[in-house]
Amino acid sequence: MSDVTSIAGARTRWVGVGHAPAAAGDARDAGRRAAATAVQGSDPALLLVFATPYADLGEIARGVRSHVDADVPVIGCTTSGEISGLTVGSGGVVVVALGGPGLTARTAAAGLADGPRAAGIAAAACVADLDRPHRALLLLTEGLTGSRSEIVRGAYSVVGAGVPLVGGCAGDELAMARTEQLHGDEVLSDAVVAAAIGSDAPIGIGVGHGWRRVGEPIVVTASDGDRILRLDDRPALDFFLERLGAPSGVGPEDEEWQMRALSHPLGLSRPGGEEVRAVIGVDHTDRALLCGDVPQGTMVWIMQGDAETIQAGTAIACDEALAALDGRAPVGVVAFDCAARRNILGADGVVKEVELMAERLGGAPVGGFYTYGEIARTRGSRGVHNATLVLLALA
């Protein structure tokens, strides 16, 4: 089923969002149909493809390509769920198309084999020669890597303070097995794909999460970039469960406490507000928390939230994105929403969220996906988030 989206006038930039189910049937056809819905007439500058991991991304890409010329930039990735207007689901493909006068995009891709920083540097190269007053770099990264901070640092070292970073980490419907990225017609994994977007109008980026701190701050006494090993100098898992009130001796078979652990992200203390990190798993042998991008020596809080607070975070993100547009109305929004928030919101909650977004964003078309991590740098030099909603708004 495809969504009908509104398209702004030909004189301005436009954003179109299309959606089609892909897992059950013909992946190529799904890609074509979603692209056909997203691109309506005018020259597209960039296509974003967010696809279910259950369908062949290559086939989907061929379907998308069949609808646009070979020289139209396309990037994409697999997801932990798709967002298309008021529809939230799994098993489908969402295509977000950007186009119109005063909008340029260039893309790049880089493998993580040479290291995350080098990949960030290589992916950010597409920003060069983008001659528009407003620029942003959109990154879609491998979802199962723990060194996103290095990717961001690499990209930042190329683009500098004048170019915001935005994007998300690919997902695979919580299987934690393999995520894929798309660059042009090429399917990649363990890679970073980027699109440098240049616009004559301001580009807005909003970040919101809705989590709140609980309890006293905790020092991360030992971490290795992918896992937190010790908190306040005690085995991290034991400390964490204890803080959450679990009885001692909770083991792997105890699903309830597993879920509880996963539903409490950690917040890194930052001047501008916490950076949230999701705990995506536990290591029972080493008594560690699988939680990436938490530097050793930093201070964290356990965060908690519920449907209400999370919606509050959504609102913050929407407002922030719009505020950066300098009073213009958005022509479309790309949403990078953390899979952890989807879990907590539940089926009803996610519907409420997209309704809230539609309302707050003035009915502008929204397309996006549920991610394993979010990227947003509008100030400072950091940009890695978890359990957060990141919105990219174009005017």
Binding site: V163, M299, G380, S381
Partner: protein
Amino acid sequence: MLDFVHQSPHQLVEFITAVAAREDGVSAVQAAAELASEEFDAEIGAVVVENRLGAAVGFGAGEPPAAALCAIRPGLGVADLDGLGRCHVAAASWKDTTPGRLVVGRLDRAFTPEERNLLLGMARGLGLTLRTIEALETERALRAAHQRQAEELAERQRLLEVLLDIQRSISHRAPLQDILDAVTAGAATLLGVERVSLVLDDALDPGRPIVARSVRAASGATPAGDALVASVHVNGQPAGALVAAPPDGGEFDAGDADLLTAFAEHASLALTDAQTVQAMEQAFHDPLTGLPNRALFVERLEQALEGVDAGAEVAVLFVDLDRFKAVNDSIGHAAGDELLRAVAGRIVNCLRSADTAARFGGDEFAVLLEGPKSVASAEGVADRIIAAMRRPFSIAGKTVLIGASVGVAYGDGSARDADQLLRNADLAMYRAKHDGRGRRVAFQPAMLTDVLERVELETALQTALGNGELVVAYQPLVDLEDGRPVAVEALLRWTHPTLGEVAPSTFVSIAEDVGAIVDIGRWALNEACAQAAAIRGGRPWLRMAVNVSAHQIRDPDFPGTVEAALRHHGLPGSALTLELTETLLVDEHGDALAQLLRLRDLGVAIALDDFGTGYSGLRYLQQFPVDVLKIDRSFVALLGDDHAGDDAVVRTIIELGRVMGMRTVAEGIETPAQAERLRALGCRMGQGFLFARPMPGDRLGEWLGRPAPTRSAA
């Protein structure tokens, strides 16, 4: 900012932890710039070290505004930065060995004093960390240098140990060869090459260097690449060199050259030591004649043989002086030494300068001939040497005559190494001696088999007597006038069960070599005496003639043995004639004279066997108590079986005997014509197949009892 009080120490810890984890100063400074900006949510981070921009974050791929950043003073403020516009900035400095500043810049809001304090803590921490990293880097470099030093020391240690070993052996007066071996082997080991050669000028033979090597190369291949040469000095004068050939495909470096020089210096030390110089000469030269000794000869022989595969020609002559011992005894040992020196001189005069003469000791000399010309004329050289030895020597006012027997052996297919070649020359010389002396004999491969046979015979002979394999046969001597027997010669026979009949000429010399002759001789003498006793009944004029060897004459107990045998068998001395060879007389000379006089005292008669074939001058006949001259069969054969033969020698001997009052006996008479001629010439007695072949003792009596044959018509 509520939690700043909580936060900032941990932010500081986080910052310092991350920076200190860097391996070197450059990456630490980069990390500091990044982390500082991240900690403060600042777009800009920078580190200035000693007024130069160390790292900057936030300016993207372009050049950061270094001057503007370096100009930011510690504290809070604003700055205009290229590309970004107006920024709020904060900076904090650290003073240390390398002072610097940590700078952060934010676009949207100013830094608070508390943030500035945190920045200060970070700056101080950074300064400290940089100092530590620098110290670590220095230490690492030092450690690497120490490692290298340690390795060099170990290497040097090894070298010193080897050199110490050499010095020790020098001071302990180890044999020079050992020292030189240690030098060349040590150098070869430490240089990692196959061999190092020590080439020395031979003071006694300039132009012919002595070469001592540590290891002989398996093939004669010449090395590619430059050889290392380090000169060796004796008493400050250049004396030679230490030479190292590089390994296949390898090259030497400066370190190798130094090493070889060190060894060369030690070799110089060893050689300079006065005693070792002497020892060197002694080691390689015969002190009496100054000729190269056996060791040096063998060294040169081996060198020469290495080239045989490539077509080089080599020959060896073994020169054994004839009658030297006798002469030495008669003129005294001091004069004997002078004689040896004179011999050495004459031998050298027979040679080309490229050839080598050596004294092996005693009266043995060897000659090494190299090169096609020399080798082709090897036998001619041998003849020249023999001729030179035959000329009289004037020693201590006396005139001395000796001779030489020479064996010649060639370095070719059959003899590939020095030992084999020397053995061949030795065998050839031995043959020359035994074939009659004063001659040269070239080695034949058959000589080897002869030697093997001889060894077999030697073994067999030692048990022959005990096994009863020896018998005495008897050949009558007759009066040529009437054919009646006047004497009987006892002839030793050896019949080995498997080897068969062995000629007396062979087994007697073997018996002498294995020391069995005395026993065998005594046994033979007793057998003959027993037989004599048996046949003399009724024939008191009959004499028994027994052959005596040089060994027996030399044996001081021999006259006693003869006396005992005579007595035991109840024979008077006049029943016995002892037959000696002419050459024995000449060789044994002084000793022989005394013995013969003692035997004569017993009444025993002395006969000279094979007369005419030896070296004796008339003086010998005068000096020695000889009763009988036995004309050698070769001269009797010259008489032919008619009357036209050459009787000059026979006539001369018969006349000689007559003049000197000696009886003559002709040996080997085979034809009536010969008997007739001899009779006509005045020879009274004869022996040969014409009359009787040698027969066993039990038949002798029967033969003697026969009536005398009538004389055949002339």
